[in-house]
Amino acid sequence: MPIGPLEYCRRWWLQLIVGLTFVLLYAPIVTLVAFSFNNSRRNIVWRGFTFDYYVKAWHNQSLFDAFVNSLTIAIVNTAVSTILGVMAALLLWRFRFPGKAAFEGFSALPIVIPEICMGVAMMAFFARIGWPTGLPWPLNLSNITIAHIAFSFPFVAVIVRGRLIGFNRELEDASKDLGAGEWQTLRYIVLPYLRPGIVAGALIAFTLSLDDFVITFFTSGPDTITLPVKIFSMVRFSVTPEVNAASTVLIVITVIATVAATRMQAPARRGSPGGG
């Protein structure tokens, strides 16, 4: 079948570029997974195949706790940040109000600020207002989560705004003319259009949270170790295959979760308004 003018994916040069990019992107990952089976404590040279480190990682209670903490924070962060980010984006897109430029500027600050500055600021803040420590799980993760949300939702807002710029307001007006209320218009017209932007934003919020080290380090305390912080201190002595093993497990879980989420989402994806 001859290639259509817009079927870029079937053109060899795009396939080559994208293929090469993916190879470079995944080469370190593949190395990582391969070395998780390495029978050597220091993990520099290959010394033989073993599952030992998977067993070790499984029994490593603090690693496991750190992982659970990271995941919890990331999930809560994604949920709240996405909501706040969409709200902020809608606000800026829709309304004129005094001080709008200032609001835009301030909401862009979390993106601009050096992470360490924000980490220190959050630490000083929580200490000075006497945020309770020693709360039961998961409440003791609250200050980390709050800090994460504070720096995540502006990212979501920026991405959703990018998507909103192309939205045809006449669709919104038409919906209102036909008698839909604000909420209905939002729900049935605007949000479906925004969905790629929201998904992109949510993915970024999740990634930012799971990966974050600096800000988490400064806002965490005893019992609230997260995975990046734990790994950073483990790495002081060397990246043992244990850490690789834990990461591999994390990847596998993530893949399974996303595949499941995609399968559940697929039927609803037909017929989204506003182009797709």
Binding site: Y8, L14, V18, T21, F22, L25, A27, P28, L32, F35, I83, L84, G85, M87, R94, F95, R96, F106, S107, L109, P110, I111, V112, I113, P114, I116, C117, M118, V120, A121, M122, F125, R128, I146, I149, A150, F151, F155, V158, I159, R161, G162, G166, A200, I204, F206, T207, L210, D211, F213, I231, V235, V239, V243, N244, S247, L250, I251, T254, G275
Partner: protein, 305 residues
């Protein structure tokens, strides 16, 4: 865009939660550090807010300005590379058949759910002197050498006497690559969101009228999607400026960026006022970049819906 008074309920409903969060959990903590930057150290942990500008004066010395400039340069280079690499990938995802879209997106995002520290160490394993990239290159070199020998050009040693591994680590190249590797999805996602909603008929019309693909891209696609590119650039360039982690792990002796200096002030040097001054200067500079962006977007209002 309507005036907020037309619909105050919706306005406040949308506006209060994000504003509250911003003020309480971001601006106030930042304010504390801002005050500290005008302070002096008194003893080991105490800081007295004296309203002094000494810290800022110190931060504007040539030593630090030079480091600032280097950071801007490095982050900028990495951002441009991200843009060049990101556009084709975003394009590919946007134009992929429906079924593949989510998988391709997943394939892009997946590496970035792995902790960046581990990935950087994995990068080291690939790029170091006895790493896989060099192993591959060495293998290729051997094959090339053998080929040349077979053709009879052996004694000219066209590929060199011996394979010398490339130093791809512990230098500025490694730091740039590290930044690209870390921030690539942040470029791809906004680009994708923008390309995806592009009206294909514009492109078809351009192609019909005889323009080649490249011309179509330059004259039609890029002007319509550059908002996404701008978002991506902002999301990549600015955090890259403040990164201290990647130069620390991948850089050589020459790779001190402003992020490293700031990090040291808050930790080893225990000089919070100076660290605060440096971070705020960094922020003012990038704030200027944002203002520039607002001005650019303002001028391009015809492209807004």
């Amino acid at each position: 865009m309507e005036n907020w008074r037309k619909n105050p309920v919706v306005f406040w409903l949308l506006g209060i939660p994000p504003s509250l969060w911003l003020i309480l959990f971001f601006l106030i903590p930042l304010g504390i550090v801002w005050f500290i930057s005008f302070g002096e150290k008194r003893g080991i942990v105490d800081i007295a807010i004296t309203g002094t500008l000494d810290n800022y004066a110190r931060a504007l010395q040539p030593l630090y300005l030079q480091i600032f400039w280097k950071s801007i340069w490095m982050a900028g280079a990495a951002t441009v590379i991200c843009l060049i690499v990101g556009y084709p990938v975003a394009f590919a995802i946007a134009f992929a058949p429906e079924r593949w879209k989510i998988w391709l997106m997943l394939a892009v995002i997946l590496p970035f759910w792995i902790n960046i520290l581990i990935r950087t160490y994995a990068l080291i394993a690939v790029f170091r002197t006895r790493g896989f990239a060099n192993f591959t290159l060495e293998w290729l070199w051997e094959k090339g050498d053998w080929l040349l020998a077979a053709v009879g050009l052996g004694e000219y040693h066209l590929l060199g006497e011996r394979f010398s591994p490339l130093t791809m680590l512990y230098n500025n190249f490694a730091v740039s690559m590290g930044i690209v590797y870390a921030f690539l999805p942040f470029m791809i996602l906004p680009l994708y969101a923008n390309i995806e909603k592009l009206d294909r008929s514009y492109m078809e019309a351009s192609l019909d009228l005889g323009a080649g693909h490249w011309r179509t891209f330059v004259s039609v696609v890029f002007p319509l999607t550059w908002h996404g590119a701008l978002s991506g650039i902002i999301i990549v360039f600015i955090p890259a400026l403040g990164a201290f982690f990647i130069p620390e792990l991948l850089g050589g002796t020459d790779s001190q960026l402003i992020g490293n200096v700031i990090e040291r002030q808050f930790k080893a040097a225990n000089d919070w006022p100076f660290g605060g001054a440096l971070s705020f200067l960094l922020m003012y500079a990038t704030f200027g970049a944002l203002a520039l962006r607002a001005a650019l977007v303002g001028r391009g209002k015809v492209l807004e819906a």
